[in-house]
């Protein structure tokens, strides 16, 4: 499995560490309730197909990335930086 880093180019999976599902968004702790925190922490879509997840390029540029990957084949469909992904979400881009 190889991941094309937007800064470093295509690199071996060994250079990266996965954090997990990139879709759950942490609610503001001061402005939420137990149900919303439960929704954030536990249930997962766990798609058989395209899955968006956070990876950290620890042996490269040290950037946090959002990798879109097919869980049935491990083929990577797209990579963006976590920063750009968050900005896009905040602008309501997805």
């Amino acid at each position: 499995m190889r991941i094309p880093c937007p800064h470093c180019g295509e690199r071996d999976r060994r250079e990266f560490t996965i954090l997990g599902d990139a879709d759950p968004v942490r609610p503001d702790g001061l402005d939420t309730d137990a149900d919303a925190m439960f929704e954030y922490v536990y249930p997962r879509t766990n798609a058989a197909g395209l899955h968006r997840e956070y990876w950290y390029h620890g042996a490269g540029c040290h950037a946090w990335l959002v990798v879109e990957r097919d869980t049935r084949t491990h083929a990577v469909a797209g990579v963006t930086t976590a920063r750009d992904d968050t900005l896009a979400r905040q602008r309501g881009g997805r």
Binding site: R13, T17, I18, D21, P43, R44, N46, H51, T71, H74
Partner: protein, 434 residues
Amino acid sequence: MFGPAPSCGPQDIGDRHFLRYSALTILTQALRGNRGWQPVWRDPEPKPAYDAIIVGGGGHGLATAYYLAKNHGLTNVAVVEKGWLGSGNVGRNTTIIRSNYLLPGNIPFYEHSMKLWEGLEQDLNYNAMVSQRGVLNLFHSDPQRDSYARRGNAMRMHGVDAELVDRDGVRALAPFLDFDNARFPIQGGLVQRRGGTARHDAVAWGYARGADMRGVDLIQNCEVTGIRVEAGRVLGVETTRGFIGARKIGLAVAGNTSRVAAMAGLRLPIESHVLQAFVSEGLKPLIDIVMTFGAGHFYVSQSDKGGLVFGGDIDGYNSYAQRGNLPVIEDVMEGAMAVWPGLGRIRVLRHWGGIMDMSMDGSPIIDRTPVDGLYLNAGWCYGGFKATPASGYCFAHLMARDEMHPVAAAYRLDRFASGAVIDEKGVGAQANLH
């Protein structure tokens, strides 16, 4: 309903005729040129409806069907399986059985499973090659010794056998290990002598035969494509071989749990991950216990065929692919070399991957769901094989009586919302905690 049977020869249950296995049967069949063996189970067409349907013809699903019939007299039951029986994780694991757990929610359940393993072959009249050769967990530091002493004490308080052995005790069991490794010198181990291995495929086959004998329909090559729910209760399953009705449906589909449960609108605290396993070329007897090296994460036993069966960590990313990647293979081999340098010249014959239903607290779920009549057996992570008998036993109890079996009472689906999680290792599906 399964009364005393003759020690050999055919046996009748209902209107059907069965060959009971024994040494004498083998001898008689041999003398007749082995022409008298019959298929071990039928290959029936699905009926329009059943009292209960189990989705998933793996170890847990087949065991559930068996205990539904044997313990609860429910025989109008179908097991629907998308591939062939035992084609998933029950044929892909490293065959270890043990009950060396720490938490009160877990110990009675896994010990129940161990007791069922101890009587399984007589119960099923099937050779599952259960071998109580002992399981040894190594420790390498004082804190780790304390942690294993605590685990051993918890086990003994629940009536489970556990023994803390020192360096010499480990030497007696496995003299070939690297005792003076600079990073992980071996200081001792926790031993469960009643633990060991079982022939994984035979467990599926034995339960399948036992269920079929009692009238359960085992329907292979029949994939569930939808779950019909009306007014909050299940009516049956849509399959590639048509609709099959049932008022009770049990899911035992391991790595595909999220996919199948989504057909009934459920979103579960589960992620699917790939776990790899390995077998070496056949060797003369080398190791007669199950040895685990938790510090580097490598565990090994030797099959009766002579291959070393071993494994390590999950790959860490979500996967439905039934195959892993090289970094974990490398990591497992490094773990092997760290604890047992003598393995260096042994060749790996095969490796493969299975899809684990990793629950968020690392413990299983045996419970009802918010959909009436839909029951869930899932979240076995990488520890499902040893649980097979008790999982089927307790899931059958739940489906037949609509109440949790006492030894599985902690495995509730709502524990994630209520906070009563069972964090045996405190890692769950979170990759960076492994």
